[in-house]
């Protein structure tokens, strides 16, 4: 995994060990924040440095001093020994990814987010070769009511980034997660449940944070050719958060 953007650290700074490497951190930083500041990649999906961590996808799980922890919520401590890039942890991550793929309907070959999608790129990064589990094949109709944006719920991984962006940045509360457990699902906060009946616009932060292909700018589709998309050029370990393009 990558070691780009390494920030030099002074000798008095507190450090911890990540996969055998010494990583500096500052008070209050989570493991993933400190790792990213040093250019170290820990796979993740619901984490985005611009937002409060959510700790739900569990892809960023590591062992910290021998105990499993979500690296997006676990604060770093001096001399902590963290393991991330190990076979057992990556095996678990792969299983989590496989579950995400089969819970929704992901037809990557005809998905316009392909090549720009963090779920797909993380699956490539972790060498996920097949979905392994039986597909749930849920019936999730699209919401095409909004003039400029389309919601394809088939691809939702419940990362809640759109909900966090809408409430924390846009001050609008357009999206929420509803239901519990396996029934958890993304909803639009309107009586009709339709995006057109909210005050959502393309200028919202929420329009530009979806790591997968749920919130889609209409009529753009495949304007960017294959080979020219973010993760065609760099693996996700090198650029974990490319600018979400108005696909």
């Amino acid at each position: 995994m990558s070691q780009n953007n390494k920030t030099p650290h002074n000798k008095n700074q507190a450090t911890f060990i990540l996969d055998g490497k010494t990583i500096p951190f500052t008070e209050g930083q989570t493991i993933i924040q400190a790792a990213m500041a040093s250019g170290e990649y820990i796979p993740h999906l619901c984490f985005n440095p611009e937002f409060k961590p959510h700790g739900s996808c569990k892809i960023c799980t590591v062992t910290a001093n021998g105990r499993q922890a979500a690296s997006c919520t676990q604060q770093t401590q001096a001399d902590m020994v963290v393991e991330s890039n190990t076979k057992p942890i990556n095996d678990e991550r792969r299983a989590l990814l496989q579950m995400l793929f089969v819970e929704g309907n992901h037809f990557c070959p005809s998905c316009e987010k392909s090549g720009d999608c963090q779920l797909q790129a993380t699956a490539y990064e972790l060498n996920m070769m097949s979905p392994h589990f039986d597909h749930f094949s849920p019936d999730r109709p699209l919401d095409s009511s909004h003039a400029e944006y389309l919601l394809d719920y088939n691809r939702c991984i419940l990362c809640s980034l759109c909900a966090r962006a809408s409430s924390d940045v846009d001050g609008k509360n357009v999206f929420s997660l509803a239901g519990r457990g396996i029934k958890t699902h993304l909803i639009v906060n309107a009586k009709s449940g339709k995006l057109a009946d909210t005050d959502f616009t393309g200028d919202d932060k929420a329009a530009h944070v979806c790591p997968v292909g749920v919130i889609i700018k209409k009529r753009v589709g495949f304007a960017v050719p294959i080979g020219k998309r973010s993760f065609d050029e760099h693996p996700i370990s090198a650029t974990p958060h490319p600018k979400v393009r108005d696909v």
Binding site: P109, E112, S144, L150, I216, R219, V220, F222, A223, I226
Partner: protein, 499 residues
Amino acid sequence: MSFALETAANPENLRRVAIDPVSRVEGHGKVTILLDDNNKVHQVRLHIVEFRGFEKFIQGRPYWEVPVMVQRLCGICPVSHHLAASKALDAIIGAKHLTPTAEKMRRLMHYGQILQSHALHFFHLCSPDLLFGFDSDIAKRNIVGVAEKHPEIAKQGILLRKFGQEVIRLTAGKRIHGTGAVPGGVNKSLSIAERDELLKDIYQMVTWARGAVHLVKEMHHQNPELYNSFGAFRANFMSLVGFDGGLDLYHGQLRARDESGNILFEGVDYRNYTQIIEEEVKNWSYMKFPYLKSMGKEKGWYRVGPLSRIQNCDFISTPLAEIERRDFIEYSGVMPMHAPLGYHWARMIEMLHATEMIKDLLHYNDIMGSDLMVTGERGFEGVGVIEAPRGTLIHHYRVDENDLVTMCNLIVSTTHNNQAMNEAVRRVAQQYLHGHEVTEGLLNHIEVAVRAFDPCLSCATHALGKMPLQVEVLDAAGQQLSSLSRSSEGTVSTPLSAP
């Protein structure tokens, strides 16, 4: 309605021989033959035994996904579906005239597809039959056998196909299932380096493609009895022709001729295809049977693909292919050539034309331009027609005001040829099997007839929920225990009436 040898009068007492699957074709199909105790043929059917659900699951999807999604119809000619869908969706976004770069890039992609598909079909799938004989040693009757005995031919076949795939890769972004064409244009043009890479080899490709035409032509001249009569039957034929009457595989208007070559209609705007074509559903095949409305089910069936196109156009715009077209027409005489083996000759003329077109297109600076897309007044319905390697391909969509597809109708090349292919296998069964003990070599004759059409059975099985189905449960002695049938309207009934 039923044609001669389509349905035996008393099927119960007949012996059934099945060729399942038909080999060296794309997709999965089977031929069943009913014979009596004296090996007399009573019934022959080419069945399509797989089916998919494209028309159904495209409904409810955003239109801009469609050109990419429909490529999954087929691993052999995805580009044809990609382009036909893009053409149909041009109308949805109101793109009346593409930019010169988009038009040429799409054409380049299409001719790359014609080249790779025709090369694959002729060299890999059919040359073993033609070079070694239809009932030659089955162990050698394949591309490996060709590579051993005729290494130069095999090499040229492989490299011609590879070049076609390269053209596709550079225009569509990937060798298969690319994204180059988008509603309103294309998403990329060629770089100078990419253009030069193709230019480097194209002249060699033209030479080899010309050699391939000569190879098939010689076969016809050497063995006219076989080539002119094998599985031959007369049929109407239809294709797009360019607005000037010339061969145009990317765009034009519909023209059809009767079996004598007289024009039945021409200048038909393909958007009005439903006014001229009707499709019949039969309970023994997943594939529909289209026919020309004006002539009715019995007389209105027709043939599409290279054999139709080469004889339907008035000329070919590229000089080497035009010389070959004239030779072909002269050889056929006053009547059009109807022999299925003539498909190979016509197909190689088209392959030569494709190489010449690629060469010409590579010399336009437009293919390196940056003006890629246009839009215009939003539409809600679009029809796109293209001459795919196997024949006329029709894509038709309706899209609602929220951008979702509400209707999709596809008529693929192989479906147009359904009745014609059935006719061909019936003729061959009569010519070669009737009264003979059935052998592998004889059965391969049937397959040779099917293969001549280059059917793509994967493409032809795209509809879901419309096809009549029959399920029979038989005991070990072949006695029917129970049955269930679903009509084309979707009603399920039991017991099953005899097919």
